[in-house]
């Protein structure tokens, strides 16, 4: 089954929800006219990225009529849009919604909020707690992770293991490091390309990366959206920094072909991962002996102080 994917590599206006909504409606129509079955927008495409204290002012609840209107524009179409979601208990999330056939089908709340370097997301947002693949009208499972979510190895893997064959990553990635030695003259682009191709290959899934362009304050977003085949081959790379609606045709049957010939997912050892993860969690919590800690280190710590604690507690005490 052939699917035409439209990548809306747009430059949202910071804090201008109505204007960005209007643009989304426009591009959904343009995508439909271009024969697309799926239109993907970047992270916070409806609000802009560097919101700071504006976040609460542009937040929408899932029952917001503006969201329903946007969903209403997706008859016979799938779309991934991203915005600030306010929960019933007034937490603010960076969210992405899968809209299909006029309905809001699935919500992903960003799990990993970078708060280091030029990022300050955790100050303004709550982190999501749920990671789920979702069925879609496209006939394959869809897995959504927002920007930084895909800098955590487990996210694309869990989505694929949960049934996703199409991994979608809406991003607002700030471009930086112009060292001449970089593949395309931009360090950020080099890193993302390496990661996304790797994920596509090791999850034997399609990866759709939609990154915004434009400028918020000091930050320039670099675009370079991509669609990558389950073989790890980039089928399409959008230009850096150029706004546009780019369409790419993919053969969804390529997932089956690749998974039969390279059965990595079949061979994944979920029980092994779950067991070892459980052990590591217990060690970090001081509930089990840590095999790599200094002998005698306090439970939950891994370094033995120069002057040992007089009364060690927990596991270390029991080990002595």
């Amino acid at each position: 089954m052939s699917l035409r994917i439209a990548l809306a590599q747009v430059a949202p206006q910071l804090g201008a929800l109505d204007e960005n909504l209007r643009r989304h409606h426009e591009l959904l129509e343009a995508g439909r006219a271009a024969g697309a079955g799926l239109v993907v927008f970047p992270e916070l495409g409806l609000t802009g990225y560097l919101l700071q204290d504006l976040a609460s002012e542009v937040a929408m609840r899932l029952d917001d009529p503006r969201l329903a209107a946007l969903a209403g524009a997706t008859r016979d179409l799938s779309a991934v849009v991203s915005f600030v979601e306010e929960s019933g208990d007034h937490r603010l999330f960076i969210a992405a919604a899968l809209l299909e056939d006029g309905e809001l089908r699935h919500i992903h709340r960003k799990l990993f909020l970078p708060t280091y370097g030029l990022f300050d997301e955790r100050r303004f947002f709550a982190a999501g707690d749920v990671l789920r693949a979702t069925p879609s009208r496209l006939g394959v499972g869809v897995g959504i992770g927002i920007c930084e979510d895909f800098w955590h190895l487990g996210v694309p893997q869990l989505l694929a293991l949960d049934g996703a064959q199409l991994l979608i990553n809406p991003s607002s990635s700030p471009g930086r490091d112009l060292a001449a030695t970089n593949e395309v003259g931009l360090g950020t682009a080099t890193s993302w390309r390496t990661l996304m191709r790797t994920y596509a290959q090791i999850t034997t899934s399609f990866v759709v990366f939609c990154n915004r362009v434009g400028v918020d304050e000091s930050i320039s977003f670099w675009g370079g959206s991509e669609v990558i085949a389950p073989t790890g081959e980039a089928l399409f790379s959008a230009p850096l920094f150029d706004e546009g609606l780019y369409t790419v045709d993919v053969e969804l049957a390529d997932v089956r072909r690749e998974r039969i010939s390279l059965p990595l997912l079949r061979d994944e050892r979920l029980e092994l991962q779950a067991r070892e993860m459980t052990r590591i969690v217990a060690e970090r919590a001081g509930l089990a002996a840590d095999s790599t800690a200094d002998p005698g280190a306090e439970a939950g710590l891994d370094v033995l102080p120069a002057e040992p604690l007089r009364e060690p507690i927990g596991f270390a005490a029991r080990r002595r």
Binding site: L178, A179, A180, L186, S220, F241
Partner: protein, 322 residues
């Protein structure tokens, strides 16, 4: 890596060196910066820019970038010489104006500066850089008139602030935003005048080291005479940055790059072959000028304080000039 066509001096030696680790992709830099300039203007509700053209490479490069971004006719370049400014600076600035075809104004600042200090006959006694906030204390009281007793530091700072005042006035008459022309090197070592040359609405080259400014200027076609000459604040005759600071920009840029961008320790930078004394001196300059790179702290008293816990993007909805 591309072979760079660096201008050569009379003996055929390259006028400067661009350290390999500092080389940037100039096409990407040009693209990011021109988009940045257009966005800053659009988001602020402006179409025009104003900048001070000194005849040096930094302001020349910014003029080229702005002209590239919005067209030369929307850029007002202001030449603001003092009576001791070198003739070459004026010629070089005029060469930029001629090459770009942008509007230009000449504003002599001598009357304004001299009105404050008095007529200077010996302007430019060699001072110790443009550093402020040092522990040196007030200058010794002198019976000589300020025209002759004011240090080069005071005169240089005053000139920089007069130029700032002129640019912000021209910002109104021309209806353009003042574009900053300071580079990353001088910002990091504090070789700037607070509220003087560091004042701007936005700065397109503030994250480029001097060596990278040179590389981009080369790529943008900035006149060779400007590329080849020794960088100078032109605050007194024959002053050069490198002479005053006793460093070469290539070396200084490398130390800053490894210490700051690549987070190497002093020992690690020394292990790369730099003199420990130089690395420590650079560290000291960076630490002592931290105050110049930040907004002044406001005493926190109320429930919500701008810059502390009232945090809005400057280009929020409704912020643009209408």
């Amino acid at each position: 890596m591309v072979a760079l066509d660096i201008p050569r001096d009379a003996e055929g030696r390259p006028a400067f060196e661009i350290p390999v680790e500092l080389e940037i992709d100039t096409d990407v830099a040009r693209r990011v910066i021109t988009d940045f300039i257009r966005s800053q203007l659009r988001q602020a509700g402006f179409e025009r820019c104003v900048l001070g053209l000194s005849g040096g490479i930094d302001s020349a490069l910014v003029a080229y970038l702005v002209a590239d971004a919005i067209g030369a006719d929307l850029l007002l370049t202001v030449l603001m010489p003092y009576q001791t400014s070198s003739a070459a600076s004026r010629t070089d600035a005029e060469a930029v104006v001629a090459a770009l075809g942008c509007p230009s104004e000449l504003v002599e600042i001598s009357p304004m500066v001299d009105a404050y200090f008095g007529q200077a006959t010996a302007a430019g006694q060699v001072g110790a850089g443009r550093e402020e906030g040092t522990s040196a204390g007030p200058e010794a009281t002198s019976t000589a008139p300020e025209a002759t007793s004011a240090s080069a530091v005071r005169r240089g700072n005053f000139m920089a602030r007069i130029r700032m005042a002129v640019l912000y006035d021209r910002s109104v008459t021309f209806g353009g935003l003042v574009v900053g022309t300071g580079n990353k090197t001088e910002s990091l070592i504090g070789y700037t005048t607070l509220f003087g040359d560091s004042a701007s609405a936005f700065n397109p080259i503030g994250d480029l080291y001097k060596s990278q400014v040179r590389q981009l200027a080369l790529a943008m076609g900035v006149p060779t005479a400007i590329l080849a000459k020794a960088p100078s604040a032109d605050l007194w005759p024959d002053q050069t940055d490198e002479g005053e600071g006793e460093f070469s920009y290539a070396e200084l840029d490398r130390v800053l790059y490894w210490r700051i961008d690549r987070r190497r320790s002093v020992d690690e930078v020394v292990a790369r072959g730099f003199e420990r004394a130089l690395v420590e001196r650079v560290d000291g300059l960076v630490a002592r000028s931290e105050f110049k790179r930040q907004m002044p702290p406001v005493a926190k008293l109320g429930p919500r304080t701008p810059g502390v816990d009232y945090l809005y993007p400057r280009r929020r909805p409704g912020s643009a000039r209408t």
